[in-house]
Amino acid sequence: MTAVTEGQTHPAKEGSAPDQQTVFDAAVAADERIEPRDWMPDAYRASLVRQIAQHAHSEIIGMQPEANWITRAPSLRRKAILMAKVQDEAGHGLYLYSAAETLGTSREELLDKLHAGRQKYSSIFNYPTLTWADVGAIGWLVDGAAITNQVPICRCSYGPYARAMVRICKEESFHQRQGFESLLALSQGTPEQHAMAQDAVNRWWWPSLMMFGPPDDESSHSAQSMQWKIKRHSNDELRQRFVDIAVPQAKALGLTLPDPDLRWNEERGHHDFGAIDWAEFWDVLKGNGPCNDQRITQRRRAHEEGAWVRDAAAAYASKHRKTKGEAA
């Protein structure tokens, strides 16, 4: 992930654009990686920035619903796990903003767009964490869905994004497990704990299925992203994969999934599941979810209240700018 972008260096030579396009198309077709200083179509760059930014924003907004329970975690072991997980999310946001910077877009610019509501984050984080079991349900279902989405991005055609995802997937492997383990403890605990776990799964199941995005025939960016190999599988394909993985896991947890139409389809070799309430999805996306305002307000406030700190460090650096070598 280097910040050196093509914009700063060699503009495309006159008359060479068609060649560049051919070279780019051939590289993508051959499953080669596109690197920051390579020529790339403007639309490819814009599409990547949009997707990486949304992904980065989701990581940092996604800290909030879980951080909501750090101060109330019911055991010191769970507290340590939760703090480490929320910390990872900040780290993953950083990796992703770095990947976006290689495309010539600064983090500041992306954060401004997030704060102004001009860039999105995953809608799932607009739902509240009402009980401790929600932390487990997020780990199991939300991180499970995220991992299903993310693993294929490790092979994305854009090098820095793919590399960031490799790192993220590696680190996230504990996130889903801890969620499952935490839910299992609740499910096998007291009747109150079991009820808490079931209630959380009931509330998080459908929003988790929505995380894969609208159905393929309504998804505006999908086809082009697949062609560019930014995306490797369709929304519906990944959603199906996730349902098939989750059903036996729910059984192992001793919890049910809130879908009366959920059943194994021998013919398809997959689970059939009920209709998703897309009206709710679009409504939450538009800003009418239970926590949209709260999430953005907290994010904006942290940024604004931190301005004097960032200014102070910048001022100190410019006063003391005598670079000292500190090689290893």
Binding site: L76, A80, Q87, Q298, G306
Partner: protein, 239 residues
């Protein structure tokens, strides 16, 4: 491994310090001034929580101690329970406490007491915590006019809690011995940061004592109410 009764008092004091400060730092999650600092503050909080778990386990069950004791039974310093305030307050609290912890664990690690093995690990962690606090004290103190004013205010506000760490505690004869070094170290950092070392008293006027005697400041009660609520709502449950 459980500690002798003298060491239990000390383990509880040091363990509660780490537990409570870790909790306060955990409150920053999602609110830090810059993403890099989210990661840094969480690292420190996790180090402290790790220390707390080891120390409390010397005394008994870590969760029973953390979640089922009443406010008056906690033995942490009043310094660490102070609310986060702005980033300057958090940094001042970090500077004062991590300098103390670093010097104390340095002494304990060099000795042959019960805490020596734990201290040997903790001294490395606290060295980093102290460095983090020093770097930020310099930048806030010697940054902008606003940051200088905020940092000075934070140092002044918390100064009255900086005498308690050096009061004698049973099983912790080393604590009073590091006060001089602490004052020298903190003074150096504050002066480099163009800040004024406060002249006011470093302990409160209340003769009954402070945190080490189980006498806390009002915000602490609300802090542990939040911390303990869920655990206490489900007696006997495992998590």
């Amino acid at each position: 491994m459980t500690a002798t009764s003298v060491a239990r008092t000390a383990a509880l004091a040091l363990g509660d310090d780490a537990l409570v400060l870790s909790h306060r730092l955990g409150e920053w999650a999602g609110h830090a001034p810059v993403l890099e600092e989210e990661v840094a503050l969480a690292n420190i909080a996790l180090d402290l929580l790790g220390q707390a778990r080891i120390l409390l386990s010397l005394v008994g069950d870590e969760d029973e101690l953390a979640y089922l004791r009443e406010e008056r039974a906690f033995r942490n310093l009043q310094l660490v329970e102070q609310p986060n305030g702005d980033f300057a307050h958090t940094i001042a609290r970090q500077l004062f406490f991590s300098t103390y912890q670093h010097l104390l664990y340095g002494r304990l690690a060099a000795g042959d007491g019960e805490f020596a093995p734990l201290a040997a690990k903790a001294v490395k962690e606290t060295e980093y915590h102290r460095d983090h606090a020093e770097q930020w004290t310099l930048r806030l103190g010697d940054g902008t006019e606003e940051s200088h004013a905020r940092m000075q205010r934070a140092v002044d506000t918390l100064w009255r809690f900086t005498g308690e760490p050096f009061q004698p505690v049973e099983g912790l004869a080393e604590a009073p011995l590091v006060e001089e070094e602490w004052l020298a170290s903190v003074t150096t950092v504050l002066e480099r940061a163009t800040l004024t070392v406060p002249e006011g008293p470093r302990t409160g006027a209340w003769a009954a004592g402070a945190g080490r005697q189980g006498l806390h400041t009002e915000p602490f009660g609300r802090m542990i109410a939040e911390m303990q609520h869920l655990h206490r709502s489900h007696p006997g449950a495992t998590w």
